[in-house]
């Protein structure tokens, strides 16, 4: 924070033309605090490198922001300046000068200082590389009191325009936020929330951001930061998780209070009292496991805070178990236990459990996470043949071509050739010279021709699905399959197989790597789609359901699983 204060005082006193702030963790947070600190002291505009993706947008945003002009629909969304100021850099410079003059005449008693805060300047470099150099020299070019502040996660060395065209900035390094800073920030947000009039209900019951709860919140935040700090130091991320968990955390206390109020029959005011230390400890004990769950799901935004909070409401029974039903709640544990066993176990893992319960808990977790992803497992949603195709595609993607004969080839002697014991590559991958080739499984699926897919599919079906096809076949006597594997061959070259492949391609479970309009020449190439169909675990599940011994069919499965 010290370096940020430096920037603030620098901008207030006498800023250099160009400041570069490098904040690897939370640039948004830095910008927010910077803007807050300088709010009424100098004319400041914040520009986002993502939203201003053309020079015109950039110029207009800067000019409108500095003049505090908001384009309104009624006047045709006019920009601040009357003449065109966004067609080129020098028009923009002229407009900037004019703006400064007009601001100076508007308040003559003091000199007007302008500042530009640009977020994500690396985007500007990508989009408008020749704009960055004049932007850093803006003060020099316009000859007005102006300072450009770039705030980025990236170092200036990575953004710097070539040939030394830009002037050297005054460097500021924002250190990684510490626990104290994060906690302070969260408590400050709490204060803002509690002063927010929308939240304050008119009734006597306090809401979850009541000022009386601040100490409790501080305690909660301490625990939360302890859990999260190892994984993220971004105050905004932790704030998000806190917003999802805090209302649920404090709910038992508020409920108890409400019950007390009701019990008092409106006669005398029941004073809301802060939860005691013991209650606090119980709450902590009860909710702590859900904090790491929240981190796991909310930090990568697998779900949003509202949904997560809804899904993770603690029910009365589990609360009662931890002694957290504070009022005279009517409880019939026996009835509710069966319904809520999963969630209860979820939220109180310290209790002794039977193995069955553990399984149930796992199932609940799986279900919740799959619900979040909004997809059913492939084994449920796909027909059997498509599942076979996916497994075959995975094998074809992962295995080298030369291994096919060894794995699937069946000679006259009917002797099954097994895959040769795979070498452990990671450990002794030291090259003799040059660099090592990265194993295929780290590079993702490789493309394969359609014929190979069909062939592997045939082998799989022949070995693992022969009886099924017999059962399914309505007229086994019409065709006479004498040669071994002939039936499978027949099955596998049906139109339905090709239709399934086309369908899987449209689902992007398979990806066609050659262009679709190429008919002759090379056969169509495919590969597994990214995500689930190219992950070993998913395919292993599928294969288990089909009875295919997948680990035996992977050439180099040293590190699989």
């Amino acid at each position: 924070m010290n370096s940020l204060n430096q920037v603030v005082s620098l901008l207030e006193l006498s800023p250099p033309p160009f400041i570069f702030i490098n904040d690897p963790i939370a640039p948004k947070f830095t910008i927010q605090s910077l803007l807050l600190a300088l709010q009424n002291k100098i004319r400041l505009v914040q520009v986002d490198g993502i939203s201003t993706f053309t020079p015109r947008l950039l110029y207009d945003t800067i000019l409108n922001g500095l003049s505090q002009h908001t384009p309104s629909w009624d006047d045709g969304c006019r920009n601040w300046s009357e003449e065109t100021s966004n067609d080129s850099m020098d028009s923009f410079l002229r407009a900037l000068k004019a703006l400064h003059v007009s601001l100076c005449t508007a308040n003559s008693e003091q000199r007007v200082r302008l500042a530009l805060v640009i977020e994500k300047p690396e985007r500007l470099k990508e989009r408008m590389p020749d704009l960055l150099a004049p932007l850093t020299r803006l003060a020099e070019l316009t000859r007005i009191d102006l300072s450009v502040v770039l705030v980025s996660e990236v170092r200036w060395e990575d953004i710097r325009p070539p040939l030394g065209a830009a002037i050297d900035p005054y460097y500021v390094d924002i250190p990684v936020p510490t626990k104290e800073i994060i906690i302070e920030h969260l408590v400050k947000v709490f204060e803002e929330n509690s002063s927010n009039s929308d939240l304050a209900s008119t009734s006597t019951t306090p809401h979850s951001y009541d000022p009386a709860l601040q100490e409790t919140y501080r305690h909660f935040v301490h625990i939360l930061v302890d859990v999260c700090f190892l994984y993220t130091n971004d105050p905004h991320e932790i704030q998000y998780i806190s917003a999802a968990r805090w209302p649920g955390f404090i709910k038992p206390v508020l409920d108890a209070h409400r019950m007390n109020v009701e019990a008092a029959e409106g006669g005398d005011e029941v004073e809301f009292e802060r939860p005691s230390t013991e209650v606090l400890l119980r709450l902590t004990h009860h909710f702590k496991p859900s904090l790491s769950l929240a981190l796991e799901q909310l930090y990568p935004r697998l779900t949003n805070a509202v949904d997560w909070a809804r899904a993770n409401v603690s029910d009365a029974a589990s609360l009662a178990k931890d002694g957290l039903i504070l009022g005279d709640a009517v409880m019939d544990d026996e009835d509710e236990e069966e319904d809520t066993v999963n969630e209860m176990l979820l939220s109180s893992p310290t209790r002794s459990r039977s193995s069955k319960r553990i399984q149930e808990q796992k199932a609940a977790q799986d279900l919740s996470s799959s619900n979040l992803k909004d997809t059913l497992p492939l084994s449920v949603s796909l027909p059997r043949l498509s599942q076979f195709i996916l497994v075959a595609a995975y094998i074809a993607s992962v295995n080298p071509v030369k291994s096919d004969l060894r794995l699937f080839g069946r000679g006259a002697d009917e002797k099954k050739r097994r895959r040769r014991p795979a070498k452990r590559q990671m450990a002794n991958a030291k090259p003799k010279s040059g660099s090592v080739k990265i194993p295929q499984r780290f590079l993702g699926p490789s493309p394969f021709p359609l014929e190979r897919l069909i062939a592997i599919l045939g082998a799989l079906v022949e070995e693992n699905d022969s009886n099924a096809s017999e059962v399914n076949d309505p007229s086994p006597d019409l065709l006479d399959f004498r040669i071994a594997g002939e039936r499978t061959d027949y099955e596998v070259t049906r139109v339905g197989v090709y239709a399934s492949i086309a369908q899987l391609t449209s689902l992007r479970l398979l990806v066609r790597t050659t262009s679709a309009d190429k008919l002759d020449g090379l056969s169509a190439m495919f590969k597994c789609g990214s995500g689930a169909p190219s992950s070993y675990e998913t395919i292993l599940d599928l294969a288990k359901g089909l009875g295919v011994p997948l680990p035996d069919l992977i050439w180099d499965n040293a590190a699989m699983g």
Partner: protein, 630 residues
Amino acid sequence: MVLKRKASSNAIQDSPSKRTRSRRAPLSPSLDTESPRKSRVAKRSVPVDDPSDDSSGDELDIINHDIPATPSRRSKRLVEVVVSTPSRSRKPAFPKPKTVQLVDALPPIPQPSPSKKTRIVTYGKRGSADCSVSSSPQKKNVQLKTPSLTPPPVGPPLIPVASPQRSPSRRALKGSLPQHLHDSLTSQKRAVLHALQQPPIVPSADDSEYSTNEVATQQLNGLLDGTVTRGEGNSCLLLGPRGSGKTQAIELCISNLKETPIVVRLSGLVQTNDRLAMREISRQLSAQVSPALLPEEIRGAANDESLKDDDNPFLDAPVEIVELSVPTAHMHSLIACIPTLGRPTIVILDAVDLFTNHPRQSLLYSLLDTVQSCRAGGGNKGMAVIGVTTRMDTLICLEKRVKSRFSGRMIRTSASIKASQAKKISRAMLIPTGETDGDQEFSAMWNESVDEILADPKITRILEEACSITGDIRSLARLFMSPVLNLKPASPWLTASQLEISAEAQRIRPEFPYLHTLNYPSLCLLLAFYQAENDGYPAITFEMLYEYVRNAIRVSAVAPVQLHGNSIGMTFEHLISAQIFVSLSGPSMNVGKNFFKYRCSVNREDVKKSVEKNGHSSLTKFLRRATGSH
């Protein structure tokens, strides 16, 4: 005069040996009139304990303002005792106004005789000196001080006498600032920062030979003078590295001219093609010249937007952007009109190397051709074209026909300054002249602290380093910025250590200064890359890193990271956005995100060091494994 002497003596001497005599030393050379000594001598008979010795009393009065927290209780008590007296003590002092004026130099008392400057300096020095002394037993000082006055001060012994003053003053400068000087500190900070933005011009150290920049300025001055007074057409290139004072030299020369010329400033960074440049020229000309004087074409070009509105009543809204279309064929004739304007014109082309990239270099050709055909007399005024660039090969970039019109005159500025010169410049920046709205008491103290810090050998080393890398004055000024910003009432003076820190942050920037403070998963990923690199992989995918990390955690059997993939994946994305991991290929639809290839921009050694610095036990274990497998 006193000021100068003081500065030099400070620089030379370090030994804080004779404290006692020092206190009178800076005073005596300037004030060696007979009467004060006499009066002093006369007063020696006064008992020492009696604070009616007006000089000491008033000095202590100052002390009380300067240092609220006096180090020892005893001295504090003494101060208080003294302070209570001045009303009593000053009265007898008034009948002998000369004593008051010369010895204690209290600012509020109007004094006619010594020059103001001298008095301030003396006063400030004494003030701060006395502050420090107050930490030692006061009585002894008073005793010692008085006899030290009696021998008439002579030239030579003065210098050793002056030396010890530094040591007490240094101690004084360590204290925090009294309340009433806080505003002065702020205004001083503002002034210094302002001076750091616009470094003052400091004449070179020795008068015998001129520095490169002075020669350049002189040449440029002569050139522009010829243009303005004799109507010559001149062209030249001003070459020099960044921050070597090219623009400064031009601005200085233009401000020195007798007649104000028309100045047209173009920049290759902004005017990226000749059309834009032409429009800018016409705009700037029409802003500086009364429209009647402008030739019709230029005027029309400049005002085309207004004209368009007048001429075309059918267009109620402006049609998109009206690019000023000066056909390149006309450009030459337009520029040729410039010498016919009422005043001489100076065209400054910043980043002139970029103008050479314009097609056929027609703007440069027109300008230089006009300059070349400029004839003195005949009613035409002079015109000068100055190209400013850092590129030394700009002359080669010119096309042959353009080069043949260029005078070939090249003026160079240089950015090599010596450490002594750098010290002078920094002093000028840190003690800005001009408006000093701050307290005089404070500014004197400030000046002294600056002199002291510049004498510090550490600072000398830093400045020498800075000068050996680059002579850029702006980068020199940047070094001082953060120490100045850090000044607080609690620590109001610059220190060498702060400057050292800032030198590291501003000049010798470490690649990733924050690396060791990154969180656990980030360092795990970096270590995994380290290990993969040891195994010979040039680039990695996320899957690979993930596996390395998983293995490492499995082996080390301490698993503080729940490796569910998610958390570490987010960390990875953070590192990508900080460009610690750089993608080798662009994004593609067909490749999964976890299979993109990345390389790491952090140095191996840096990873190692930062892990060691971080000191997490399982990380160090990981590191040991990573290096061990090598």
